[in-house]
Structures are given as C-alpha cells and as structure tokens.
C-alpha cells in the first residue's frame, strides 16, 4: 500500500453533525440490503463510503440522499427527519447528489443543465416569467452568472453552450458535479465520481473535491478506487453485506483487519 506525498492530511472537521443515519434497515422483498447501519456526517468533512461489491454502498447512498425510504430507522439532516419529505424538498433542504451512470439532461446545453439546478430555490412562477418582472430578470441573470462560474470552477467553462450529450466523458462527470453544486447544497453526495477515469484525471478530480470542500461544502463520496479514497477523505465508513464493519480515519481503516478481510487482502485500487 503506497503512501503518497499528496495524501490528504486529516483535518478536524469544523462543526457539528450535519447528517445522521440512525439505525437504518432497508429490506427489498426478501433481501436485507442494509442492516442496522448508523453513522454520521460532520460539517465540513469529506466522508468516504466504501465496501466490496454488493456491500450495499449504493443502497446506503440512496437512503442517505432520500431516494429510498428505510424500512426501519431514520435519516436526519440537521435534526430534521427525511422520512416524509418529497424528493425535491430534500434537495431544497440542502442535499444534492450526482449519479454513477451519468444522468444529465442530454438534449439541454451544459449551461441549461446547471441552471436547472440553480432554479431549485427560485420562487419565480409562470406569471413572473410571462411579464418579465424585475425579480424574474434579476434571478435569471444571477442564475446565469452563477452557472457560468460553476462551469469554470469544475473546468468546463468553455463548453457552456454544448449539448450535454456531446461532451466528453470526463466533462460530463464534471458537469454532473457542477449541476449538483448549483442547487446550493450543504451536503454534496458524489456517486463514484471517478469511474472510468485514468490516473491523471483521478488526480484532477481529487483536487476538485478538495476545492469543493474548501468552498464550504460537506462531501459524501462512494468510490471503489482506494488510493483516491485514502487520499481525499477525512473519515471513512466501511460496509459489508449491508452492515457497517468499520469507521475511522483513512489510516485506521487501512490497518483494520476486518476491512482487510472483507476485501480479501486487496486494499489497493481495484478495477471495479
């Protein structure tokens, strides 16, 4: 297991608990996908969620972001339970996510994709739009400006007017992140953001994630690439067969015998 100079120094996360996963169990038919999982995400940190294939990472991620409702247990964001909220309300509350298999709005431009995210907190309705009230024009300009900023931030500013479908794979992944950020979240959840990247691109992605956190966002990350996870996260939660088997700093996780056993001895990055 390599130790690299660019490895991230674990910093104290600044604040209190932002999100609590509280004894969550999720059953689909006869399958128990998650079994009494509990952990928390603290403000300002980058938390990694890892585990071997089939461990329930994606399911846990979906429960955390409010896509699935737990059979038992609860997810609370800043004290508020997500149980009865509609999905768009959860986004307005401050939880945003990307998708592992890239689900952009293909026939819309990169700019429009991001602006859809930016519309999340807009209160402008159809009458405002029709009569172009000052508030509508102001919000529209603001959204436009911020969208361009975000596209620059993730590095695809020049491609603002391209159709999302025509972007390169790497640019599409960046667009996903920009779009999620446009919803002005407190917690940004990234679902395997590095899938399909080469090492150089992964390095750039790590820098981007750090930049995102430095901007004040809290980040939840699912990844298969161990080097990336070890290098960028502050803390890690490890799942196996739907249960949490370990939690701690990258260094602690690296040496945890249960984790090593779960991965059958491979703790380098693996091609998933």
């Amino acid at each position: 297991m390599s130790t690299d100079e660019t490895s991230h120094q674990a910093t104290e996360s600044t604040g209190g608990v932002m999100l609590e996963v509280d004894h969550v169990t999720l059953r689909f038919g006869g399958v128990t996908a998650l079994d009494d999982v509990s952990f928390e995400i603290r403000e300002g940190e980058i938390l990694g969620l890892i585990g071997p294939n089939g461990a329930g990472k994606t399911t846990c991620f979906n429960v955390t972001t409010g896509v699935y409702r737990p059979t038992r247990g609860e997810v609370r964001f800043r004290g508020r339970s997500l149980s009865r909220m509609k999905r768009f309300q959860i986004t307005r509350l401050g939880i945003a996510r990307t998708f592992q298999n890239i689900r952009l709005f293909k026939t819309m431009t990169a700019l429009d994709n991001v602006m859809v995210g930016g519309d999340t907190h807009s209160s402008v309705g159809i009458l405002n739009a029709l009569f172009r009230t000052p508030r509508q024009r102001r919000e529209e300009d603001e959204n436009h400006r911020r969208a361009l900023e975000l596209l620059d931030f993730v590095g695809i500013g020049k491609r603002a007017d391209e159709l999302a479908a025509n972007l390169s794979y790497g640019d599409q992944r960046r667009l996903e992140i920009a779009r999620a950020m446009a919803t002005n979240p407190k917690l940004l959840c990234l679902d395997e953001p590095a899938a399909g990247f080469n090492p150089a691109e992964k390095q750039r992605l790590m820098e981007l994630i750090r930049k995102v956190r430095d901007q004040g966002y809290t980040v939840l990350l699912i990844e298969h690439d161990m080097r990336l996870v070890m290098g960028v996260t502050d803390r890690i939660v490890v799942l196996e067969f739907g249960r949490k088997i370990a939690e701690g700093s990258p260094a602690e996780i690296r040496d945890d015998p249960a984790v090593i056993a779960a991965y059958l001895g491979t703790d380098e990055e693996d091609a998933s």
Binding site: V67, F88, R103, F105, T107, M108, V116, A129, L130, R132
Partner: protein, 377 residues
Amino acid sequence: MKRPALPSVPLPAPLRSKQAKIVGIGLFVVFLYALPILDLPIITTPDSDFGGVLYTMATYVLVALGLNIVIGYAGLLDLGYVGFYAIGAYVTAVLGVQHGNWPYLLTIPVAVAVTMISGVILGAPTLRVRGDYLAIVTLGFGEIIRLAAKNSDWLGGARGIQNVPKPPSVHLFDVPHLKWENGTVLIDVTNKTQAFVFGFIDYVPYYWMALTVVFIVLIADVLIKSSRVGRAWEATREDEDVAEVMGVPTFRYKLLAFAMGAFVGGLSGAISAAGANFIYPDSYQITVSIIFVAAIVIGGQGNRWGVMLGAALVVYLPERFRGLEEYRILMFGIALMLLATFRPQGLLPPRVTRRAKKLEREIEDLETGDEPQEVTS
C-alpha cells in the same frame, strides 16, 4: 462534432444585422395578414374559400401551440386534447346563446377559465400515473366530453347549439381582393372584405382575429419557454426522476403544463366557435385529437415553429388537393407510421436548427475575415 455543410453564398453583412431581421419579420407578418387578399394563384385553394381555410389553419396552429406545451415541452402524451377544444367552444355557445346572452368577447375569459379548471381536475389525479396510461386516460377524457355533450339536452344534445355568437362588428373600411388573370394582377372591386365585419360568408376577418391571437400566444410561449418554467419542463421531460433530485417539483410543473395546454385549447375552441354558425358534439371526435397529435409529430415536437408548420400543413394539404378528401385519414395514418420510423424528430427538429445556424454564422465570419464573436469549440 460534425460541422454542417458550408453555405454556398454567404449573406452580405447588412442582411444579417438585427435590424434587417426585424424588418424581415415585420414584412412576413404583413404578408400573412394579406394572404387572403392577395389571392395568389398557386397557393390559394381552388375549391374552398381560402379565407375560411386560413381561418381553420390559424385555429389549428393555435391548438398546436397549446398541445406542444403538453407533449413537446413537458413530454406528456395527451390523446384527448379535443376535449379542451370542445369545452372552449361549448362555453362560448352556452353563454352566448343557449343559456345566456353574453357578447362574444366576454365569453372568452370564461371559456378559458372553465377549460383550465377542467384541465387541472383531469391532471391532478392522472398525472401521477405512468406515462402510457396517461395517453389512454386522456383519450377517455376526450370521449367523455363528447358523450356528455351528446347526451345532455342542456348542451343541445346530438344536434348541438345553433347561432353561436359572433365578435362585434365595426365596419371601418373595405379591402378589395386581388385577381390574377393571364399573368396580370387586377384589383377586383366586386370581391371585397369588409373590415372588420364578422358575418356569415366572409371568413377573412375571423382569420385576422385568429392570427392575432396566434401571435399573442406565440410571444407568451417564447417568454415562458425561455424562463425557468421552460427549463423545468424540459428537465422533467428528459428525465423526471433526476429532475426531481435536482430540485424541480415535477408534479407541479406537469400540472402547470397541462393547465397551460388546457388554457390554449379552450381559447382555440372559443375562437373556432366564432366563425362556426353551429357546433355539435360529433365534430369533436377522437379522430380530431389524433390529427392534433399528428400535427405536432409531423412538425417536430418541442419546436414551436415546427408544430405551427405541421398544423398548417395538416389543414392546408387536404384542402389544396381536394380530390383526396376521403383518403385524408388513411394518409395521416401512413404519414404517422413513416414519420415514426424514418423521421421521428419531425420536419423541424428542436435544437439542431438553432445550433446549426450559429455554427454556419461562425464559419461565414471566419470566411469573410470578420472577428468571430466567441470561440465555442
């Protein structure tokens, strides 16, 4: 990205300026209003009154704009749009003659409001179901409206309602039509349109009224589509689950699209009732809904210019080539099948035209040595 074919003759700079565009559009608008007066030889329909045909075309174009919001923007397959059209016409008739004496213009807001409310009532429960089912449910809605009108004496029963009110007439001036004979143009003083008299024979004033409403709705469409409402609709249509995750309250926007569609549908029904001397339930059959959908599909769903063209063609072609009247629906069926297989994006697909034009302009600029505005690779 593939570059489109290079244009053979780049336009000289003055014609590309914004002013030139506005003047061009203005001339085109005047041309449209003048169309029935000009009586151009090839375009004018030989066997039917061209003014009447244009009036129907304008009404259908209005329908297409409304249905385009539902199908094209929000991606909701509505196969019962004729229901809204019927409600609009019937409210006008009921208020104007059947159970009231309202002047025509006052019936319009009520017609539109009633239709919108029925759109919301229909949409609220049914927009929650899966997309395929929506098609069948809306189909049923259209039929229910027709059957309700047919079976209800209060609404005139199967015979319908006679003497539907007309817009108020004010005779300001006369406009003589042109006449084309042996290649020369004459002014035919025996064939005059009285502006603005809404009578029983001359449909030109009705056409002008409908055309004006089309322009108003068109402007509203542009304004709404280019705002966050249009974006929310597009996102919902593209990928509803993801749109929801990106903070779009998709159900609300679907309902809004439905309500807006109902609004325009009712409006076009009321407009169509003006020139119709009587309305009856069997003119609002399911076939009409399918023709509306055909107009959208032929033109290119989601593209307002395309659907307007589609609607115009759907009315114009059978009238222009009158002999094939019986085969009209058969040909629609064939056209739908062919389009669905070979050209699903319609005659004028949505986004490609805009981007292709932009690229063409940039290529021209590069060729003529002008500075390109912005390099978008």
